[in-house]
Symmetry: C2
Subunit: 434 residues, 2 copies
């Protein structure tokens, strides 16, 4: 691979070691971040438009590069679902370009005055939104992340260092070439969006160390082992969630029809998304009427049910739930079901086994709902709605780069606003402090 095929790293000789090469990417990204932070909304939007145009114009080349990745994955005996995540076709490339157009249409968060107030001494203080700086994104086989992450970082005025999976290396490179062309057309530095030009796994470790203080935050996109490694090793802040072990609690005052609709949707709409429900808690106050229909509906919909002793009574097809099942994110058509003795018991179960991602209560009792929403300490808590609404698009953020369960800075869906920080702008007329 020739280094000159990568915009933003053209000056790096092939002889340079991975560490030297990565540190240089970091330095260039940091310099580019300063320019991006001051770029006008029009400049950034022009770049996003040019990027989308370049991706559409290069659709065939992107699909060709992707075909090589797919062929290699098949040679290596990857699973059909893996190959499906990896594969692109003209329709999927068009969806990538449309994603860039969508991000372009979002309001620009940078420069927004979040709050402003006057002090008795006449000082005017404003809290103003500014970009975070340099965002490192580490992802796996989905090549579309290359464009999605680039767009969200650019819109929020951040430089990005993208490290895609080795399986999608050629696809990501082809998409990145279109991105670089778009940046160039808009007069923005190519180093604003860098793609790590090596499959060397050492690059990930270097990014987790922060590339000499140049990376401000790391966002992992991928499976649990990737997220776990990033959370364990990163020396810089991380926006991520390790688990989405989400609960639906059917309270004693839950209408059966609503409960059934929500439970089925929360579990079965898409079983692999992080907002999918993994445990159903049914209050003993309604278990006599609701437990059997809920369990039957799940099994009839193709879901394996693993239940506690009471749940196993209502349907012989229910398998016994193990202790481990309560803390498991199945990511599949499997659900753990338990009868709880009341609201407090439900909340205690969620606190003990949950992952603080997304949890829902179904009830017509407003007092019970309010207590659940207050006491369940998760990024997203819902009353009478499906957990599958845990999504930046569904929240109205336009797009998201992931969902965070940490407590710092970003929590819940991470959209362009969460990719910013703030500074204080103070205007005076010569004030000195007594």
């Amino acid at each position: 691979m020739s280094a000159t095929t990568f915009a933003g790293v053209a000056a790096i000789g092939e002889a340079a070691g991975t560490e030297e090469q990565m540190l240089e990417i970091g330095r260039k990204a940091k310099a580019a971040a300063r320019r991006l932070a001051l770029a006008t909304p029009a400049q950034k939007d022009a770049a996003l438009a040019a990027m989308a145009q370049a991706i559409r114009a290069r659709s065939a080349a992107i699909c060709e590069a992707n075909a090589e990745d797919v062929a290699e994955a098949r040679r290596q005996g990857m699973t059909a679902s893996f190959v499906d995540r990896l594969a692109l076709d003209p329709a999927r490339v068009e969806a990538i370009a449309a994603g860039l157009d969508l991000v372009r249409s979002l309001p620009d968060p940078v420069g927004e005055v979040m709050s402003a107030w006057d002090r008795p001494n006449g000082l005017r203080i404003e809290r103003v939104r500014v970009p975070l700086g340099v965002v490192g994104v580490i992802y796996e086989s989905r090549p579309n992340v290359t464009a999605d992450a680039a767009a969200l970082c650019l819109k929020s005025g951040n430089a990005a260092i993208l490290r895609g999976g080795s399986d999608s290396f050629r696809s990501s490179r082809a998409i990145h070439q279109a991105i670089a062309a778009g940046l160039e057309k808009a007069g923005l530095p190519a180093a604003a969006i860098s793609l790590v030009p090596t499959r060397d796994r050492e690059a990930v470790g270097l990014m987790l160390q922060g590339l000499g203080g140049t990376i401000d935050v790391i966002i992992p996109r991928g499976g649990k082992s990737l997220v776990a490694r990033v959370q364990a090793e990163a020396r810089v802040p991380v926006f991520a969630h390790l688990d989405g072990n989400n609960h639906v609690y059917v309270h004693g005052a839950a209408p059966l029809g609503m409960a059934r609709d929500i439970v089925l949707n929360a579990k079965m709409r898409r079983t692999s998304v992080c907002g999918a429900a993994e445990t159903l808690l049914v209050d003993e106050a309604c278990a006599g009427t609701h437990l059997k229909p809920l369990v039957t509906a799940l099994i009839d919909a193709g879901c394996e049910v693993r239940g506690d002793s009471l749940t196993r009574i209502v349907d012989p097809r229910v398998k016994p739930a193990s202790e481990e099942d309560w803390s498991t994110e199945f990511g599949d058509a499997i659900i753990a079901v338990k009868v709880v003795s009341g609201l407090g018991d439900a909340i205690a179960h969620i606190e003990r086994y949950g992952s603080h991602h997304t949890d829902a209560i179904v009830t017509t009792d407003q007092v019970a709902a309010d207590r659940f929403l207050a006491e369940v300490d998760s990024a997203i808590v819902l009353h009478n709605a499906s957990t599958q609404f845990a999504d930046g698009g569904e929240f109205g953020f336009g797009a998201e780069i992931g969902i965070a369960t940490g407590r710092m800075h970003a929590r819940g869906p991470v959209g362009v606003e969460q990719l910013t920080t703030f500074k204080y702008r103070v205007r005076g007329a010569g004030q000195t402090r007594p």
Copy 2:
């Protein structure tokens, strides 16, 4: 020392090792944090009032304990300024109690709906302020931090684990006993505010590792070596600033009188605070008229001036500035002075040598001011005001636990609001995701 003298750790036997003891403090703090997060404003305020009352009632005992610390510090030959930071008298104890009253009078941040919106599908989404969880505070010789940090954490619904300096061990313990009495009187768990009951330095290292995932953020209060150690070793987020290398830039269109007032105040009001100016940049456009009076005023006020070649011409008392001086936080009556060729040069100097804490421009040129405020990437940027306004009280936050120069979550003065995070509360009527 008997473990039973410490509320919140009474169950820990003396035989327990530091690690076991610290992990137990962490677990209890985490459990207490859940109760605090759900405490009503009235409950928290009652605790703050009872804490202030207990401190006033125990003033003599606190001063006695402090006298032992002071005697030991003197025996160890500590400097007069060190002893002054450590020493308490009835007036200083009253100031500590008044600080608790001040924090009590602040608005309660917890539960505030920061924003709310409706989705087309009828879902109502609210972003609600919630506490961070458990705050670890590591500080040095000032015993008042024990009460100040406890009050800010409690008001914001957080549990706190306080680790004071060994030099103020007895004073902090006496203050903490009053705090524990106040918590008990208000029916809140004593473990809500723990004081690490050992001088063992291992305790700090354990806190920096997060005490088994129980600490959500660490706030160091003290000298540069403490902050540097915390930033280097912490495996949890840190709110801190290592340096306050702040600049005043006197632009070509700066009125001399205003520039002189601001420069003198920014440097000399208090030279040891983190908002003090350390470098004066004078634009060459006004150097002919402004440089000499500014330098003379500083020297006449007792400040040592270290200047570049142009600055040394205007006054023979100016010493030569070394390269190192541009990046030094003197924390004393010393200032580095440089003539810059214009606004861009000033901004470049601040970016290269500054610490992203607080920087000011003096000018009547609004365009120049706006560019400075936009391009200088510091937590606080000021136009025509002294850098010494970098303070939570001056910002109207009532009180602060410190100033952060990091980009994540808290930036600038850290008051009760910055000690909170948020969650999303979603209310529906049975919505499922298509």
